[in-house]
Symmetry: C2
Subunit: 404 residues, 2 copies
């Protein structure tokens, strides 16, 4: 069987996720590509930190060693910063290798140059992972909206900032407390500057601008501001008006200019970005024919990012489309979590005694501080109210009645 | 220059939208396809109702006449019901013609058969328009999520039902009043049975099930219920608990079975379907690697549906990817509406006198019945509150403070 050989730059969160995903999805990849996918080598900075089980994989901190590996088809970039990544990717393209990158800072600054070079050399570039991780916004814009023109893009592109704003509003935390929580949960880096000062979202906006409009926004039409000045008092005040702070990157094309504003805005409930909370990202694209289309999902994390890289790999290597579905022994019932937030109900049963139930269920929820402790009791009340609910689905209720 | 010749079945909302879009986007289509796109003929039921300006287009109510047109490359189906559409599409495929269909009822029932036939004959089928109109859910599942497996799909797939539920909740209308409003606005058919009894959403669920899992849900695992029994009292009651009724189609794969439930459910604010209101549709796809990805947009209407058809056309005919962007003289500043729901603010300015402003802005909004009449006054108050807002963006405020 033919093989696709991969060289991987970086073995941190993303690099490891990609390696694991290649292993876990080997069978599926072979079906899709008609080829085995093989990790040939991995480049890291500090080789002592790392170990790779499979001894056929070269692990090195010497880029010359990596580049001297024969028959590499794809170089996957999961390192940090503009350099040495840019030099490595140029070299890979010069060698006639496809590249896939998750490195938004690099791609924001050198994407156009890499795209031109790739065109020249007849190789492809995948960069889905640079924006919104598992949300397929890059491919949607490149492939699925070709006749439509993009009028405007508005996106929540940084999960850390969004997490902090949600925590502040929902838990009444100060900025510093919320930041600390985000760091503890692994959303924010130990140096979270790029996130909270808006640069990470700005890099992603540059990538989107180049994709949608063929160039970056002009500097004089660019505004960049992070979330560091937002106070809990401001959040509470606007909350009382049903407005929520979101850190939004907006890219707009007008005749002769592209403007880009990356800053906190107030969003009202009618806008699809209003309910995008915590580590979620979302991108609303206003198009000329289809209207506004919004994509939402996890904008960071090991597997969502690896997903983007692996889907890029399939796109690069394979233009014939295969069925999405397949008989799959691995998808077990346990893997399907119950939906926490959708409660199916049977409408035939009328609510019998609304006042009584409201007294029990409604007001209790309004005042209950720790809803988890109340969940069993709530479940019983809910059963009375709702009639014929499927029992396993009821588990969501203790949260679903949490009053914001 | 080469030409792609199209035969169009039906000249109602969708058919007309497709024709207009071909005309308006001719230049773009030529760039993408390297070919001119030409409408060769249109089939209708009642020829007396119709007139087509361009005399080179055959307008007929005789399918034999349409099928005897030479050199047709693509047949686009925009008629209603399973027959005669199914026979026509089979015939088109037999003739070696690609097909694109918007006809969900037909495709729900005969999609698999048409797909097999198309594979046999080496032609392609586009059916993006059958689900969610301009939301590119079909292509996202087929092309962008190939390595990911689909664990569950939950979707608001019928704009009419969703419109009715939103109107009832937000305006306190009865079911009948809300239905009437939907009909007046052109969302519901004069015979709205398919919409409000859930069949339209069910057809779309069948299409998604076949795409994601290669077959339809078994009948014994299928539940179908519309929104006709929902009362305003129920809506109000659950509203007070922060729960909203949504008509959701859910398709889940478990070992050995596919289950499908199309019915009203209660959704809480944490779920991405919670804020999908009025004529919007949305589909949340739970995947094995990327997590949950949600797509939202307009699920019906002339142009969103035509968008899906035209994007399918480009996908069918052209596998090399072209840049999304282009210098475009047609995109004028006026075309970009100001965002109604995002208000950028400058955080440097502190709110000076919250109580005073709340008295003016907050409570006024809470009681103002006709916010449009108040908009100028509101704008002035808002300027006081928010400090340095860009003036053109403030127009959203009169709506953004509407309290639900
Ligand atoms: N984490 C996410 O959720 C996410 C999402 C989307 C995109 N990204 C992007 O993906 C890239 C990787 O992110 P990450 O979270 O995986 O970072 P990470 O955990 O810090 O890992 C970075 C890896 O790159 C290696 N590296 C750094 N500089 C290097 C150099 N000069 N030469 C060789 N190797 C070098 C490091 O080696 P050592 O281990 O030896 O130090 C480490 O293995 C970044 O560009 C990031 O912006 C990340
Ligand atoms: N409207 C939407 O937003 C939307 C969105 C997605 C999908 N769709 C689907 O797209 C299709 C078209 O919808 P529509 O809203 O355009 O419907 P429509 O406005 O009612 O138009 C239907 C057209 O089909 C023609 N037609 C019907 N039966 C025919 C037959 N037996 N032979 C020849 N022509 C026939 C009609 O001809 P006459 O004009 O002569 O009667 C009419 O021009 C439907 O399958 C619908 O489910 C619609």
């Amino acid at each position: 069987m033919d093989v696709i050989r991969i060289a991987l730059l970086g073995y941190g969160t993303v690099g490891k996720g990609v390696h694991q995903t290649i292993q876990l999805q080997q069978e599926r990849l072979q079906t899709l590509l008609g080829k085995r996918v093989e990790l040939a080598g991995v480049l890291v900075k500090n080789i002592n930190k790392h170990h790779i089980e499979d001894s056929s994989v070269l692990l090195t901190d010497n880029c010359e060693e990596l580049f001297s590996l024969g028959n590499i088809h794809v170089v996957i970039d999961a390192i940090v910063g503009r350099e040495p990544g840019f030099s490595y990717l140029k070299r890979a393209i010069q060698n006639g290798t496809h590249i896939i990158t998750a490195n938004k800072e690099l791609f924001a600054h050198h994407g156009r140059e890499l795209k031109s070079l790739a065109d020249e050399k007849g190789v492809s570039i995948g960069y889905e992972a640079t924006v919104g991780a598992g949300i397929p916004i890059i491919q949607t814009l490149s492939k699925l909206l070709q006749v439509n023109k993009v009028k405007r893009i508005q996106g929540i592109l940084n999960g850390t900032s969004n997490f902090i704003l949600s925590s502040m509003r929902e838990k009444g935390l100060s900025f510093q407390e919320a930041l600390k929580e985000a760091q503890e949960k692994g959303y924010a880096e130990s140096d979270p500057g790029n996130d909270i000062e808006g640069r990470d979202a700005y890099f992603k906006a540059l990538v989107l601008s180049d994709l949608a409009y063929g160039k970056k926004p002009e500097e004089e039409h660019t505004l960049l501001k992070g979330i560091t000045d937002i106070t809990i008092e401001q959040i509470n005040y606007f909350s009382s008006l049903n407005l929520r702070f979101k850190h939004v990157a907006e890219i707009v094309k007008a005749p002769g200019k592209i403007s880009c504003a990356v800053r906190p805005v107030l969003v009202s409930p009618e806008h699809p970005l209003y309910q995008v909370e915590y580590e979620q990202n979302a991108i609303a694209v206003e198009t000329t024919i289809a209207g506004r289309i919004t994509l939402q999902g996890l904008g960071a994390g090991m597997y969502p990012t690896a997903s983007a890289v692996i889907e890029d790999l399939v796109q690069l290597e394979n233009q014939h489309s295969q069925p999405v579905w397949r008989e799959d022994v691995h998808l077990e019932a346990e893997e399907i979590e119950q939906s926490l937030w959708i409660l199916p109900i049977r409408l035939e049963k009328q609510l019998k005694d609304k006042k009584k139930i409201l007294g029990k269920l409604g007001s209790k929820c309004l005042i209950a501080k720790n809803l988890d402790e109340e969940s069993l009791e709530l479940r019983d009340h809910a059963l009375e109210v709702l009639g014929g609910i499927d029992l396993p689905q009821i588990q969501g209720l203790q949260k679903s009645v949490k009053i914001s």
